[in-house]
Amino acid sequence: MIKNYEDLSPVAIDCLKEIGNIGSGSAANALSQMLGKTVTMRVPDVSVLDYQHVIEQMGGPEKVITGILVHLNGDIQGMIMFLLEDSFAQVVLSTFLGKENVFSAIKEMGNIMAGSYLQAIGTLTGLTIDMSVPAMTVDMMGAIMSVPIVEYSEIGDKVLFINDGFVIDGVNIKSNIILIPDMKSLYILMKKLGVAEDG
């Protein structure tokens, strides 16, 4: 059985990337409905990267970002984390300003986007996945990323990194998502998708 992300075959990685693609499409739809705006999606860049690489790619450990954390339960155990840069928060701000608490609006957006990713995975695999209420913080990226690094340190130092590009009202915004099923769940996922290396 696969023990960590380094053991994944190229076929399995392609499969994870496809999950990322489908999830992003589904999230773009949800986003459009929530904001009441036209949302177009650029082809997401999905990769299996190590944490250090993710942190460097996004601007270094001390860059301040918004992190939204959702735990997964049910057939799949693990976490989804959204790393949102300023442009994303600005769009939410401009849409919800004066209407309600901006913090809870961003949290709700994380909730909806995580839900649409999970729905995509569920539809593809027939698995039931539950999610926790999202938790959110604004802080240094290194400190935010240390949460999955520590919790999943046994799995290895690689994660599925999805770099989404959305265009909302002509404004380009980026959202970065990391998806980390635990090892047993990853195996279940691969098996359901017919790309498990054994058994």
Binding site: P61, D139, M140, A143, S146, V147, V150, E151
Partner: protein, 159 residues
């Protein structure tokens, strides 16, 4: 004068006037040790309390409080530090996300284990900035013994 950066799950030692830096501690804990007489400093950035709880403890001793601290002391002794003169300052161990049923609570457990290990090694803790819910970048200046804490929204603190 060199500026040595310590990554997550790593440790480094130096002689004055070099500076030790570790960026964006979340639930992790940074442990600064100093022998001011010998002018030898050390900094360890631990991720988890206990190397015996998981499967890969032996392969990465610098990640765990129980194995990293003895290792840090040994490395400092190689540079001429004396165990009996060591003093500690620690920072980190935050809870980054408020999760109601947080079974992990890793920040608190990290801090508790670090204190337990330092007590076992008979190293007094001169200052600490631990817990709460925000990330910390740590600069340690062995020359003066100052531990400087930089937080994203809370400015700079010298301990």
């Amino acid at each position: 004068m060199a500026n040595l950066t310590i990554r997550i799950g790593d440790l480094k030692v130096c002689k004055t006037p070099d500076i030790l830096v570790t960026y964006a501690l979340g639930s992790c804990v940074g442990i600064c040790l100093l022998d001011s007489t010998a002018g030898v400093g050390g900094l360890s950035h631990i991720m988890l309390p206990d190397s015996t709880a998981g499967v890969n403890g032996a392969s990465a001793p610098m990640r765990f409080a129980d194995t990293a601290i003895p290792l840090l002391i040994k490395e400092m002794e190689k540079l001429g530090a004396s165990r009996g003169r060591l003093r500690a300052k620690i920072a980190g161990g935050a809870t980054m996300f408020a999760i109601s049923n947080d079974k992990f609570n890793i920040g608190d457990r990290n801090v508790a284990k670090v204190k337990e290990m330092l007590a076992k090694e008979r190293i007094p803790i001169l200052a600490e900035d631990t817990g709460a819910d925000y990330g910390r970048t740590l600069f340690f200046y062995p020359e003066t013994g100052v531990m400087e804490i930089r937080a994203a929204t809370r400015g700079i603190k010298n301990l």
